[in-house]
């Protein structure tokens, strides 16, 4: 029996290959993701190990706020210089040196800050006394000795054409300043850390530039001979207050790797999710292809049964075939994943994110997971066709027409489908609205619900196919003539098959639609929020639209003649009621630039904050049961606690709020936060928005290459840029599953053409031309694709409505134009899928078609 299965598979290489392909892409995505992230992690680990290799212990500031959720990671507090003296005095210490690490941006020859792929500009200090600890090695020139000298990283120098001896603009805390490049450096043996630029100042200059005179960000320590780094760490620990910490060099390298890995893990899960979706779609394709194959093999299976094969043996032979296909697909997918990882890496590099290079990491885990996932999914998908194959009775041998017996459950099909759909929606609703469950459970509910919903609709689809195919095929009968009419009939001929093929495409289209509807909602919500909240003339933000910028630009703007109000919104992280919060610091005149509705209080509140007043959003007040007069304890990153009193509650617009969870006065903020920075700066000028005012403002801020002046419309567009790129990324990743479903259509068509060989021969014999045959297949493909769109797009809108209702993102907007584009894309998918099968059908020899049994 095994031999028969193997022979059968070899005899159907093409079909086996097509089936395998459905799962290859998903497996490739999974293995590619693992290889890529493993490789990046290993590279960072190598770099950080090199960075700390000469350091036995590292003292650094400890932020009271663990990494905040919004990414506004507050840099940890700096250390007092006096600590260095006390560390040096320890008997275990051979030498110790303080250093600064902060951010500063280099300015390119075009006057714009150099930023590739959103990577930060890193700034380090260099002191001859700390040379032994320095991770930096010179690529050319020497280290800076004077205040106006710097080194820059060799990679930036090479890419932007800067050489030793030239001058370059640097933006640190204040306006742009020019320095002389005296050397280029590498760090930890690599010339670039993911595209980040590096600027190396002398230690005194770095301290002055970053307002850290008399302070260090980090103290590196070497142990005296005979002391382990652990001993050293234990000796140092008593010297430290709550806002400082000490780690061994090795632990620090691990920690740094882990910090970077945190992001990489999210990145990995994100990519894996899309691999999972592609695999889910692939399982539909496999189930369908195997169903068709089994149907076409009815005769063969019946022969086997007549010859005495048991049902179990038939089941085994189909499952064995699936196992082999799954294994083949997984191996190909694994190999393809390797290429994919390389491709993604160079893609990232082309965006300027060149990650440190190491040899590709190919872990056993990657191999095991990829193979297991590919094989298990194929087997699961094969189960139903295999069970149906066992129901082929020996009598089928003598009956004309090789139709499989209907499934035992088929008469409950509609009820089962409706039941599944209802169950799925219930599951999603529980996940979305039962807030007492844990986030993990809720996500699980939504995810499982969505999967079940897809399966339920796919189960219902066969009932809907005949009427819909007639409807969607109508244009084909108009434009396609006889081939169009035949295509319309063909697509409804085997509703289960057409439904299953269309369902695969449905999933991809539903998800694309979901994303686009949510994005449209976010966009319109954001636009209307900004339109109502933004009552200033201009906004100043960082060039990348989201980084906080130094207060110097705000101070400069305030001195421009004609400026009537400057409202800087400080942003930082804090902790209150046991969880991280976003904190904003607002000036007294905030209401001149920002308009929000007030649930309690009014526009005068920002002016009344004083040293201990605070206002929060209504949502936050509700969640923490706060009301006007409630006390509020806010912990800042440096570990101090601000005792505040609630004096107002805002009712911010749905789409986006200009204020964080908790807002305090600018003055209080500046006292409580080291190096306060503005997220936005709003400016009002007499005369409002005019070309002259714009020019004056831009000219006055020319010394701040990182500050971007924009009016309301530009502000909205700039802020939405991130959303647009995210949306495009999601589209690209989801297109993977659309490609898988495209293969599903190809599979079905090829198998169908094969099955209808004789019929196509007859059509050719009675006068159908090759072109007409091809057109017939193309129309059938397009009808199938349109069916996918008909199921998928409304389903996506429904999912978006459900999810949108929970995340409360503002307005529910259906982007009709985009959805029409998706329908066109579905048609194009159908046309592409049909190319090859149509050619095969067209090439069928009339004679072969007639004599084929």
């Amino acid at each position: 029996m095994t031999r028969v299965a193997l022979r059968g598979l070899l005899g159907r290489k093409l079909r086996a290959g097509l089936t395998a392909f459905a799962i290859v892409l998903g497996v490739a995505m999974v293995s590619g993701t693992f290889v890529l992230t493993d490789t990046i992690k290993a590279a960072f680990s190598t770099v950080f190990t090199a960075v700390y290799q000469n350091t036995d212990a590292v003292i650094s500031g400890r932020s009271a706020i663990s990494r905040s959720s919004n990414g506004n990671a507050q840099s940890p507090p700096s250390l007092p210089a006096s600590l260095l003296g006390r560390v040096r005095a320890l008997p275990e210490v051979a030498s110790a040196s303080g250093s600064i690490s902060d951010t500063a941006q280099l300015v390119g020859r075009d006057g714009k800050v150099i930023s590739s792929g959103g990577a930060p500009g890193l700034a380090f200090s260099y002191a001859p006394s700390g040379r032994r600890f320095s991770p930096l090695t010179l690529a050319s020139g020497r280290f800076p000795r004077e205040a106006d000298q710097i080194d820059i990283d060799a990679s930036t120098a090479r890419k932007y054409g800067f050489r030793v001896g030239q001058r370059i603009g640097v933006v640190a805390r204040g306006p742009v300043r020019r320095f002389q490049i005296v050397g280029t450096v590498e760090i930890g043996g690599v010339s670039s850390l993911g595209g980040a630029t590096m600027t190396i100042f002398t230690l005194p200059e770095a301290q002055r530039l970053f307002d850290k005179v008399g302070r260090y960000d980090q103290i590196s320590v070497a142990a005296r001979h005979g002391y382990t780094s652990n001993r050293l760490v234990q000796a140092i620990r008593p010297l430290l207050g709550p806002s400082a910490q000490v780690r061994s060099g090795r632990a620090q390298a691990r920690q740094a790797t882990k910090d970077t890995s945190g992001f990489l893990n999210i990145f990995q899960d994100f990519l894996l999710a899309f691999g999972g979706i592609a695999l889910f779609v692939g399982s539909f394709v496999i189930a369908n292809t195997l169903s068709i194959t089994v149907a076409q093999r009815t005769r063969e299976l019946a022969i086997l049964r007549t010859l005495g094969a048991s049902r179990r043996q038939v089941l085994g032979s189909v499952l064995l075939e699936a196992l082999l296909i799954g294994a083949l697909a997984s191996v190909i997918g694994l190999a393809l994943g390797l290429l994919l990882a390389k491709g993604l890496n160079s893609l990232l590099a082309s965006f300027g994110i060149d990650l440190p290079q190491t040899a590709t990491v190919f872990k056993t885990r990657t191999v095991i997971v990829a193979l297991a996932v590919g094989i298990v999914i194929t087997l699961i998908a094969a189960l139903r066709p295999a069970l149906r194959a066992t129901r082929v009775a020996p009598i089928s041998l003598v009956r004309e027409g090789s139709l499989l017996p209907p499934s035992r459950w088929s008469r409950y099909g509609t009820q089962a489908a409706l039941g599944t759909i209802l169950g799925a929606i219930a599951l999603m609703l529980i996940g979305l609205f039962v807030s007492t469950l844990s986030t993990g459970l809720r996500l699980l509910g939504v995810g499982a619900g969505a999967l079940a919903l897809f399966i339920g609709v796919a189960m219902l689809a066969p009932q809907l196919v005949p009427p819909l195919a007639r409807l969607l095929g109508w244009p084909a009968t108009r434009v396609g003539g006889a081939p169009g009419q035949l295509a319309q009939g063909n697509s409804a001929r085997n509703p289960a098959r057409t439904a299953s093929t269309a369902s695969a495409l449905m999933i991809g289209l539903a998800l694309v639609t979901l994303v686009s509807v949510l994005a449209a909602g976010l966009r319109s919500g954001f636009e209307s929020s900004v339109n109502s909240a933004f009552i200033a003339n201009y906004a100043i933000t960082a060039a990348n639209n989201f980084s906080p910028i130094s207060l110097a630009s705000e101070q400069r703007a305030a001195r421009i003649p004609g400026v009537t109000a400057v409202v800087g919104v400080r942003a930082g992280a804090g902790r209150a009621f046991g969880s991280n919060v976003n904190v904003t610091g607002v000036p007294p005149n905030a209401s001149r630039a920002i308009r929000v509705d007030w649930a309690h209080g009014g526009p005068q509140i920002p002016a009344q904050l004083g040293s201990n007043g605070a206002f929060v959003s209504q949502a936050y007040a509700r969640a923490q049961h706060l009301h006007v007069g409630s006390p509020l304890s806010l912990e800042t990153p440096s570990g101090s606690h601000l005792q505040l009193k609630l004096i107002g509650i805002t009712n911010p617009p749905k789409g986006a709020s200009p204020y964080g969870d908790i807002s305090i006065s600018e003055a209080t903020f500046d006292r409580a936060y080291q190096n306060p920075q503005n997220l936005f700066t709003f400016v009002n000028m007499s005369g409002g928005v005019t070309a002259a005012n714009s020019a004056r403002l831009t000219a006055a801020l020319a010394g701040f290459p990182d500050a971007k002046v924009q009016d309301k419309t530009q502000f909205i567009n700039n802020q939405l840029q991130g959303l647009t790129s995210l949306l495009n990324l999601l589209y690209v990743l989801l297109s993977l599953s659309v490609v898988v479903s495209l293969f599903g259509i190809v599979n079905t068509l090829v198998l169908t053409v094969f099955e209808r060989t004789r019929e196509i021969g007859m059509l050719r014999a009675i006068g159908m031309s090759r072109r007409q045959v091809r057109r017939m297949i193309r129309h059938e493909s397009v009808i199938t694709a349109l069916l996918g769109a008909t199921f998928g797009i409304p389903l996506g809108v429904l999912l978006a409505a459900l999810i949108g209702a929970t995340i409360n993102f503002g307005t529910f907007t259906v982007p009709v134009g985009t959805l029409v584009v998706f329908v066109f894309l579905a048609v194009i998918t159908g046309l592409i899928a049909a190319i090859w099968p149509a050619r095969r059908a067209g090439k069928l020899n009339v004679l072969a078609a007639l004599s084929y049994e």
């Binding site: 009939g489 001929r493 019929e759 007859m762 014999a765 009675i766 006068g767 031309s769 004679l847 007639l850």
Partner: protein, 255 residues
């Protein structure tokens, strides 16, 4: 009926000849496995004739049909249909020729399951984008006894009815010549008899030219001419033969 040179020589003769073959050979394979399915067959079928082709299994009957109908190319020799030399035609011209001049009836009925009987009958016209002649269609459906079955689908029809649909389909475009390869091969003898009568009638009433392959002496005896094939050659020919004569000849060929 002797071959008078090659190709078309006189207009009058073209009009009378529906299909003409000269020195047809067809070889399959090469070397040791080479099979000579046709070894040099020449024939002319006049318009309005019903010609039966008989012979033992493997004698080349189907191969002859296929080459005459332009479904297969001969290894050498020529075929003209309605005066058109078809052996060198490209696919597009061959398709056009099929639409205008050739009808087929197969052993398997080859109906499209999703179309009604009437739609199946009209299919050649639909494909060619031609408007049906309703009167002719009605006449055909009545003749084939399908008038009250026109809205039925093939799965709702008996085998004989399905084959009658196939015959109506072959006749609907009034082809110059209709080819039928064992049209009764899949039917019981009574139903097969009805089908043969239908073919006979279409020749008698509409002057339809037919070339039909058959194994049955009774079927062959309704033909105007019977060609006997053995080993790729026409070995005998009978006109207006009785079944007994046919059986006679067949038994000599079989031995």
């Amino acid at each position: 009926m002797a071959a008078n040179g090659s190709g078309v020589t006189a207009g009058a003769q073209v009009d009378l000849t529906a299909v003409r073959a000269r020195d047809l050979t067809r070889r399959y394979g090469a070397g040791a496995t080479e099979v000579h399915a046709l070894r040099g067959v020449s024939l002319d079928v006049e318009r309005g004739q019903l010609v039966a082709v008989m012979g033992p299994s493997g004698s080349g009957k189907s191969t002859l049909m296929h080459t005459l109908a332009g479904l297969d190319k001969p290894s050498s020799g020529s075929v003209t249909i309605a005066g058109i030399e078809i052996t060198e035609l490209d696919d597009a011209s061959m398709t056009r020729l099929r639409r205008d001049h050739i009808g087929f009836v197969f052993q398997f009925f080859n109906l499209l399951p999703m179309l009604t009987a009437e739609e199946n009958v009209l299919l050649p016209l639909t494909i060619a984008g031609e408007a049906p002649d309703r009167e002719w269609l009605d006449q055909l459906l009545t003749k084939t006894g399908l008038h009250d079955r026109r809205r039925h689908r093939p799965s709702e029809l008996s085998g004989g009815q399905q084959q009658r649909v196939a015959i109506a389909r072959a006749l609907v475009s009034k082809p110059t010549i209709l080819f039928a390869d064992e049209p009764t091969g899949n039917l019981d003898s009574r139903t097969g008899g009805e089908i043969l009568e239908l073919l006979r009638d279409s020749t008698r009433e509409y002057g339809q030219t037919i070339v039909m392959v058959t194994h049955e002496a009774r079927a062959a005896s309704i033909a105007d001419r019977i060609l006997f094939l053995a080993d790729g050659l026409i070995v005998r020919e009978l006109t207006d033969a009785h079944p007994a004569q046919v059986l006679d000849v067949m038994s000599t060929l079989q031995s």
